[in-house]
């Protein structure tokens, strides 16, 4: 860990009344990174982001972000971050522009620049034609973009986004991520939590959280390569029976179910694929699809979490 990192988290622990939400997390993030936080619900992603935003007290450990020690200066960091909460947290009774003006005042945006910056953000977020609409009457995707726009008003060097695209349609999701990529290219440090693996793939680094711990933290490519072996995708007429048939076969390391499809981790795709399909046919199971595929982060994560559960 280098001292020059933009964010240094050292053995950070946060306890709630009867739960340890964060358990000795150590992590450093460089300036300009687009850092993705993934993990199941309750893993501690929101708690970590809230601590970085100065919203929660630290139980133990140290967090230094953008030069501020969050144990001592939780208020001082606030002007320098843009934080977007998971739930829509703007004023529904105010219009798009009124919401922006409110937060421009709170963040002391230069009065002369304010008008100009709001116009720019409106077009940036594609909200110019809706600027007088009440926030309550915006679509989910537009609300998220408005929320993002308000966090950008004071041009913060650090953006903390808590599942910004959850519950948003795929097109809005894509638009949102295009905006994030632009910001990333402009040098803003972004930490974003997401339940979507395709979004995690767009990050420069990804941290997987599980039960308050940081399981792994690496680039998407390295995480994918963690999977030792090849991936075979098989769709059959009866996935439950197929699962029982395939699990004991030689070379099968792990089977994950994705709806009707089975993703099977094997030592070698080339040799095992014919063996697997043959076994299924012997049990009179119709094979609709059977092919090797390159592993994604999703499989890697599930595999990691399973290993952790086995250890516990």
């Amino acid at each position: 860990m280098t001292e020059s990192a933009f964010i240094n988290i050292t053995e950070l622990t946060r306890e709630f009344k009867n739960k340890t939400a964060l358990d000795q997390i150590t992590l450093s993030i460089q300036e300009g990174e687009l850092f993705g936080l993934v993990g199941p619900d309750g893993a501690g992603k929101t708690t970590l982001l809230r601590i970085l935003a100065g919203l929660l007290q630290i139980t133990a450990g140290q967090v230094v972000a953008a030069g501020y020690d969050l144990n001592k200066e939780p208020e001082e960091i606030k002007p320098h971050i843009g934080y977007m909460a998971q739930e829509f947290s703007l004023y529904e009774k105010l219009s798009v522009v009124e919401n922006l003006m409110f937060f421009a005042d709170l963040y002391n945006v230069d009065v002369k620049e304010q008008e100009d910056r709001i116009q720019k953000l409106l077009s940036f977020a594609g909200l110019t034609e809706f600027k007088n609409r009440r926030a309550a009457h915006l679509s989910g995707g537009m609300q998220k973009k408005l929320a993002l726009a308000t966090t950008l008003l004071h041009e913060p060097p650090l953006l903390l986004l808590d599942e910004p695209t959850t519950g948003v349609d795929p097109i809005s999701r894509r638009e949102f991520w295009n905006i994030l990529t632009d910001l990333h290219l402009n040098g803003t440090t972004i930490i974003v939590s997401t339940p979507y693996m395709d979004e995690a793939d767009r990050c420069s680094r990804v941290g997987l959280m599980y039960q308050g711990e940081l399981v792994i933290c690496d680039s998407p490519v390295n995480i994918r390569n963690l999977l030792d072996g090849d991936l075979v995708k098989i769709t059959t007429s009866d996935w439950q029976e197929a699962h029982t048939v395939l699990a004991p076969l030689a070379g099968v390391k792990e089977i994950q179910t994705y709806g009707e499809a089975l993703h099977i981790l094997v030592d070698s795709g080339k040799t095992r694929l014919p063996q697997l399909t043959r076994a299924l046919k012997e049990h009179n199971l119709a094979v609709d699809e059977a092919r090797t595929a390159s592993p994604r982060m999703e499989e890697a994560f599930i595999s990691l979490i399973r290993k952790m559960d086995q250890v516990n």
């Binding site: 809230r50 208020e75 909460a85 409110f102």
Partner: protein
């Protein structure tokens, strides 16, 4: 302290008040409506109580006396009767609520300065009208007797000054008609202005419920700016009520307004500051609107009714309640409104109450700032 932050929150809150129908009704319509309702239910003016009169004296003095007691709006002569039995019938049938029996020696006793016997029978099933009748008949009789006595004194050459009737009913001084409405309305104003306070208690909880609080807490705003920014708009809206309600009281209920209107507005602003700060303390501790509402009724509205001396005199309370009433803004404001409306006193008398309100308000705002954390959970 950042005026930009303060104004941003104030502006946003005002926009909310005028755009959210429930809030609008609660802070701008409810106070007047409740004042109207409470005045009508609590202060039924008793008027035109029907009387029966049995005059055994049948003298010019007794006839003048009968005319005198029934001359006002309060008591009406229903019938002059000849026997007690007739009175009983009329009382049973509810035609009269009270009867006056004038003894045979009425005028003789009066003129010879021996004092008079007057018998009043009332319908005990309606103690309000009965008590009212007794009080008013006694009052008229006293005035009547005094006049007769004055005449007699003059005839006998005794100076009039020695005949100063002692009036122990102090409350009747500024409310000569003894109309409860006139006394009640100024007191009730302090209760109905509790509604803006209630709304202030809700406003922080609303931010929690809509998770807008998270966005506020993560911004660089100072907590005192946030809390004051939420109080100021309700003071302004409260002042709208303060202007509206006296107009209603004066034009509709014919309550006299003896004092200075500007002094009244200024003192009302101070009262609102104290009352709303009290609401803010509740808001800081209650994280949901329903809890905040229940708490405000417990802490703002009920003590407002029972401990501020509007209905029950503070002097009659046990010491602990008296002490508590001292810290309720309503207690001081009730003194202010009654004073300004009915007796026309100004700052020269009311300044201790104004100072007390300022102290209460500042204390409450400090308490809420102390316990309001710019953190979640």
């Amino acid at each position: 302290m950042s005026f930009r932050h303060l104004w941003a929150v104030t502006r946003k809150e005002i926009q909310h008040i005028f755009r959210d129908r429930a809030t609008f009704i609660l802070v701008l319509i409810t106070p007047t409506v409740v004042l109207l309702l409470m005045t009508y239910t609590l202060a039924v003016n008793i008027e035109h109580v029907p009387l029966a009169v049995l005059d055994y004296d049948q003298s010019p003095t007794s006839r003048a006396f009968i005319q005198r007691i029934t001359a006002g709006e309060d008591l009406d002569l229903y019938s002059q009767v000849d026997s007690i039995a007739e009175i009983e019938d009329m009382l049973i049938q509810g035609q009269v609520k009270a009867a006056v029996i004038i003894s045979p020696g009425f005028s003789r006793d009066l003129l010879s300065l021996q004092g008079i016997d007057l018998q009043v029978i009332i319908d005990g099933t309606e103690p309000e009208s009965g008590g009212f009748a007794v009080e008013h008949i006694g009052w008229r009789a006293e005035a009547f007797a005094n006049e007769i006595l004055a005449d007699q004194f003059q005839i006998q050459g005794i100076p009039l000054e020695s005949l100063q009737p002692i009036d122990l009913r102090v409350q009747a001084w500024f409310n000569p008609g003894l109309k409860p409405i006139i006394d009640l309305v100024p007191g009730l104003i302090s209760i109905v202005l509790g509604f803006p306070a209630l709304t202030v208690a809700l406003t922080l909880a609303r931010e929690h419920e809509h998770s807008t609080m998270e966005q506020l807490l993560v911004s660089p705003i100072k907590r005192t700016d946030l809390l004051l920014g939420k109080i100021v708009p309700y003071i302004l809206v409260g002042l709208l009520n303060v202007m509206l309600i006296p107009i209603f009281a004066i034009l509709w209920f014919r309550v006299p307004f003896q004092g200075n209107f500007l002094v009244f507005i200024a003192l009302s602003a101070i009262f609102l500051f104290a009352e709303l700060s009290m609401g803010m303390v509740i808001g800081v501790f209650m994280k949901s609107q329903s809890a905040a509402l229940a708490m405000s009724f417990l802490v703002v509205m009920f003590p407002g009714f029972f401990l501020t001396g509007i209905f029950f005199p503070i002097t009659a309370m046990p010491e602990i309640a008296r002490l508590e009433s001292l810290f309720l803004p309503g207690t001081h404001y009730a003194i202010i409104t009654r004073g300004v409306f009915l007796t026309g006193i100004g700052l020269e008398t009311l300044w201790p109450n104004a100072v007390m309100l300022l102290i209460i308000g500042t204390a409450f705002i400090l308490i809420s700032a102390l316990f309001f954390k710019k953190r979640l959970a």
